[in-house]
């Protein structure tokens, strides 16, 4: 090999190595990219995890309440595999709500049927996915982890409204929560945001 080609080889190799590192980084960048993409498109029915605020439709500008058209909202409670809690949707498992109307309060119910203290995380999902961004949660038990002592039970509050911008063609929205056991995660996570069970018991 002449010196010239040797230099060329070295240059090519280093450039390609840099490209490899870049693509490794891109793999990780897919995580936040996916998050943003899901939020924009409602892919997977992901809902926002930050509390929304409801402003009464006092202003004359749109959006206003769409009094005469209502959307059916259904509530589901699902246990993930091996989750021993009793997890129940509100008594009224279905409501007809006018988009833009004042927030609604509901309670889910959870009962730790196991004989150990546990921490759970509820993960919400909205179907159809593109309705997710119009279902605005002001308060939700899914915002924090929920700790329950063995045998204890609790009521889980939810407060939400439907945005008046909800597209016309959506007639039914299903809000489902899946409950996961995160006791191990919480134990290993020093900054666990779980509150003691007594704070939530009723």
């Amino acid at each position: 090999m002449t010196d010239k080609t040797e230099g060329g080889v070295r240059r090519t190799a280093w450039r390609l190595a840099a490209g490899t590192v870049l693509m490794f980084g891109f793999g990780f960048a897919l995580v936040p990219l996916y998050e943003v993409f899901c939020e924009l498109t409602g892919l997977n029915g992901k809902t926002n995890n930050d509390p929304a605020a409801y402003s009464a439709p006092a202003s004359t500008r749109a959006p206003t309440v769409r009094e005469h058209e209502t959307v059916r909202v259904q509530f589901l409670a699902i246990n993930s595999t091996e989750m021993p809690w009793q997890f129940q949707a509100p008594e009224t498992s279905e409501l007809h709500i006018a988009p833009g109307a004042a927030p609604i309060d509901l309670t889910y119910y959870a009962h730790n049927m196991s004989d150990r203290d546990m921490v759970a995380q509820a993960v919400p999902s909205v179907s159809p996915g593109r309705a997710a961004q119009y279902l605005r949660k002001i308060e939700c038990f899914c915002f924090q982890r929920q700790a329950l002592a063995a045998g204890a039970s609790t009521q889980l509050p939810l407060r939400f409204y439907i945005s008046p911008e909800l597209p016309d063609d959506i007639g039914t929205i299903t809000l489902s929560y899946t409950l996961f056991d995160v006791s191990e995660l919480a134990a290993s996570d020093a900054t666990a945001s779980a509150e003691p069970p007594s704070a939530q018991g009723s």
Binding site: V9, A13, L30, Y34, L43
Partner: protein, 526 residues
């Protein structure tokens, strides 16, 4: 003494351990690939034996799952990919008029990582809880929350073999960009060089993403992160996106070098130059670029917005256009050529025909609404085996028969070659064609037991598999004979520079077998 050292191989085992010679490393890659092919093939035999009739006869379901997983991993990463890197090592320097690969020491390293990676991977089978049982696609949380403890070793093995591929790809690109003989412009490079050039870029694009995916798995399993755990705010579907961002281009990484090999062989045995060389180059590049935009066609059923389904459906179907260009170019090359049908040509023609069948079933699955029925059935298994076996594997056989006389200086036994081809051809079709039918009828993939109505086609499939498997022993006999002839120095069957009538290309201007260092002085290109 030092002159000696530079002109011939060292002797004994150290020749292979410390070699930096592209031919030695190519040989190592090819032998390693062959061993892995027989290991993965043995697993396939076990799978087909269990599926010969309904019910559980031979293995437990969990072990069956380990077999399907390992069969896929070994065939993709242990057999087909190393085999094509072996071809690249042997052929690229000879085809572009270079003395060796650009980074010979790196070359040694990228090979020797592989045996370690696969020792680790295979050893997981003997660990507590068994080896990976979550399918070769290792979807989270199957491969994280519900994985056997050996998954950590699996992750490490994937890291290692990814590193090997990346180093190999860097070497190949550096060689092609810097070591071409004077006058060997990019648009004069043989098709095999072109397809490997593009494949190497694809490897660099997606292997690091695979490394990222397994790293995230590792962190989820051991460091409490939640990339793919819904409970902690992660998303299992994200795993599928990251995996298939690697996984779809991977299928082209596997098939493009085979395209290249066939593009060398068909002109030779048609005694005509390749039809539409320029369009071949652009079609290959187009396939590679488009392959990075179609990944979610593996995930039509996860619940995507309609626009998503449509986007991935149309981009997937669009790939059929450049692929069609290639198929038509191969057929046009054969058109009115004075064709002969030696083993490499037979494998190449079978490649064109059977790969097209696999391509068509792929088009069927690209239709999102239809895919809801095909998803996770044996129809999928039939499809990807049609593109991988008569596709990639026939490409490997074709290439070995075509260049073996060059590599060894001895012609293989053509009668045995023909026998090997026909047994393989019948065996492969008998194995995989009936799988279309059971798949359409609803038989799910990755199950050790199945409903009674699938029994007949599964029995046929298993018989085909045993035929396909055992006929590979003919290939071993052919190889052993050639190597024996070479070792004994017998002159019968010795070939000259041009082992095939009228064959074109720089590698055929070298003696057979070629000298240890290919072109110490650059050849002149007309």
């Amino acid at each position: 003494m030092s002159a000696d050292h530079h002109h011939g191989p060292a002797s004994g085992i150290t020749r292979w351990l410390f070699t930096t010679n592209h031919k030695d490393i190519g040989t190592l890659y090819l032998f390693f690939a062959m061993m892995m092919a027989f290991l993965g093939g043995a697993m396939a035999m076990l799978i087909r034996a269990e599926l010969f009739e309904p019910g559980l006869q031979l293995v437990e379901p969990n072990f069956f799952n380990q077999m399907t997983t390992m069969h896929g991993l070994i065939m993709v990463f242990g057999f087909v990919m190393p085999a094509f890197v072996g071809f690249a090592n042997w052929q690229l320097p000879m085809m572009i008029g270079a003395p060796d690969m650009a980074l010979p020491r790196l070359n040694n390293w990228s090979f020797w990582i592989l045996p370690f990676a696969f020792s680790i991977l295979v050893s997981t089978l003997f660990m507590e809880g068994g080896g990976p049982n979550f399918g070769w696609t290792f979807y989270a949380p199957l491969s994280t929350t519900y994985a056997p403890p050996s998954v950590t070793y699996f992750i490490f093995a994937v890291h290692l073999l990814g590193m090997s591929s990346i180093l190999g790809a860097i070497n190949i690109i550096a060689t092609i960009m810097n070591l071409r003989a004077p006058g060997m412009d990019y648009m004069k490079m043989p098709m095999f060089v072109w397809t490997w050039f593009i494949t190497a870029f694809l490897l660099l694009l997606v292997m690091p993403v695979l490394a990222g995916a397994v790293t995230m798995m590792l962190m989820d399993i051991h460091f409490g992160t939640s990339f793919f755990q819904a409970a902690g705010g992660g998303d299992p579907v994200l795993f599928q996106h990251v995996f298939w961002f690697f996984g779809h281009p991977e299928v082209y990484i596997i098939i493009l070098p085979a395209f290249g090999i066939v593009s060398q062989i068909i002109p030779t045995f048609s005694r005509k130059p390749l039809f539409g060389y320029t369009s071949m180059v652009y079609a290959t590049a187009a396939i590679a670029i488009m392959s990075t935009l179609v990944w979610a066609h593996h995930m039509f059923t996860v619940g995507m917005p309609l626009v998503g389904e449509l986007f991935f459906m149309y981009t997937t179907m669009l790939i059929a256009v450049p692929t069609g260009v290639k198929i038509f170019n191969w057929i046009s090359t054969m058109w009115r050529g004075s064709m002969t049908f030696e083993a490499p040509m037979l494998f190449s023609i079978a490649f064109v025909v059977l790969f097209s069948i696999g391509g068509f079933s792929g088009l069927m699955m690209a239709i999102a609404p239809a895919d809801f029925q095909y998803h996770d059935t044996y129809f999928i298994v039939a499809h990807f085996h049609y593109v991988l076996v008569p596709g990639a594997v026939f490409g490997v056989f074709a290439g070995v028969y075509y260049w073996l006389p060059k590599w060894t200086g001895r012609m293989y036994d053509e009668r045995l070659g023909q026998l090997h081809f026909w047994l393989t051809f019948i065996g492969a079709n008998l194995t995989f064609f009936p799988q279309h039918f059971v798949g359409l009828a609803g038989m799910p993939r990755r199950i050790p037991d199945y409903a009674l109505q699938f029994a007949d086609f599964n029995a046929i499939s298993s018989v085909g598999a045993f035929l396909f498997g055992t006929s590979q022993l003919v290939f071993v006999v052919i190889l052993v004979r050639v190597l024996k002839d070479k070792a004994s120095g017998r002159l019968e069957g010795a070939v000259g520079e041009r082992a095939w009538e009228g064959v074109e290309g720089l590698e055929w201007t070298l003696p057979s077998p070629p000298p240890y260092h290919s072109f110490t002085t650059p050849p002149s290109i007309r």
